[in-house]
Amino acid sequence: MSDFENLGKFAWEVVTSNRPKVNVSSDYVNAIPKGIEWSDLSAPAGTNYCNWDWKGPGLVYKDFNFSMQLSWTYGARYRGGGAYITNATVTVLEHRVGVGGYDVNIMCKIGNIDNVGTERAPVPRIPIDVSISWTNWFSGGGGTNRFEIWGSGPYGAHYDDDSYEP
């Protein structure tokens, strides 16, 4: 049961041309034991989240702001053991785009899910990259928040501002 299955997506658009586009019923990732029925899993122990703001360029006034949240359920059991993630998703809490001809896009991509637990007590780890990119009349830029979330609850995160490729 240390092989995981993702019944959600491996990539989805979160914001397209300044507008949030998340469909909460389909735009998610999960990590559950391969080949089991959903009914074999217990309810998750809870939902964790991490919030952040992405602020666009502009020396005094930031030209755009996206308030974002990554949330994930953790601690679902299979036959009393393991700690699985039944749902993880990225949502836009608030957003503002000022003048300047901005086109802002945000994407979510899922990496390979591995086991950071044991064979008998599996804990999936899901790498999630949430990337923002923008262009305006003159320029372009962006960056990526690189997350990893664990089925037992914890997460890691760092911002990579060198990830933008025009």
């Binding site: 952040w52 992405w54 044991t118 599996p122």
Partner: protein, 102 residues
């Protein structure tokens, strides 16, 4: 950015000179950088406003200054991240089958 004045034809001074420099660097103004907002400067302003679709009226207001500010900061533009609150619960991880043994 909040201090830029509204400029119309007939204005003079440092802000006009600054405006002319940026209109020149953006390719819209080819006159002398003399700090005098004449008809050539006004045509350049209108040309830039038309090009960037920000209301072609020849008067330099907030949107036109915003455009110039964007041009000025284009090479140093970065997205900043500000980490906010989080909630992180955690569980122990028993072995599979624990339930049946209990």
């Amino acid at each position: 950015m909040a201090d830029e004045p509204e400029l119309t034809q007939g204005a003079e001074g440092d802000w006009v000179e600054y405006l002319q420099q940026w209109l020149n660097s953006l390719g819209f103004y080819h006159g002398s950088i003399d700090g005098h907002f004449g008809s050539v400067t006004q045509e350049a302003v209108a040309g830039a406003q038309q090009h960037y679709s920000i209301g072609e009226n020849g008067t330099v207001g907030p949107e036109t200054w915003q455009m110039i500010n964007l041009a000025r900061t284009a090479n140093e533009a970065r997205v900043e991240v500000a980490w906010n609150d989080s909630a992180v619960g955690e569980v122990d991880v028993p072995e599979i089958g624990t339930e049946e043994q209990a």
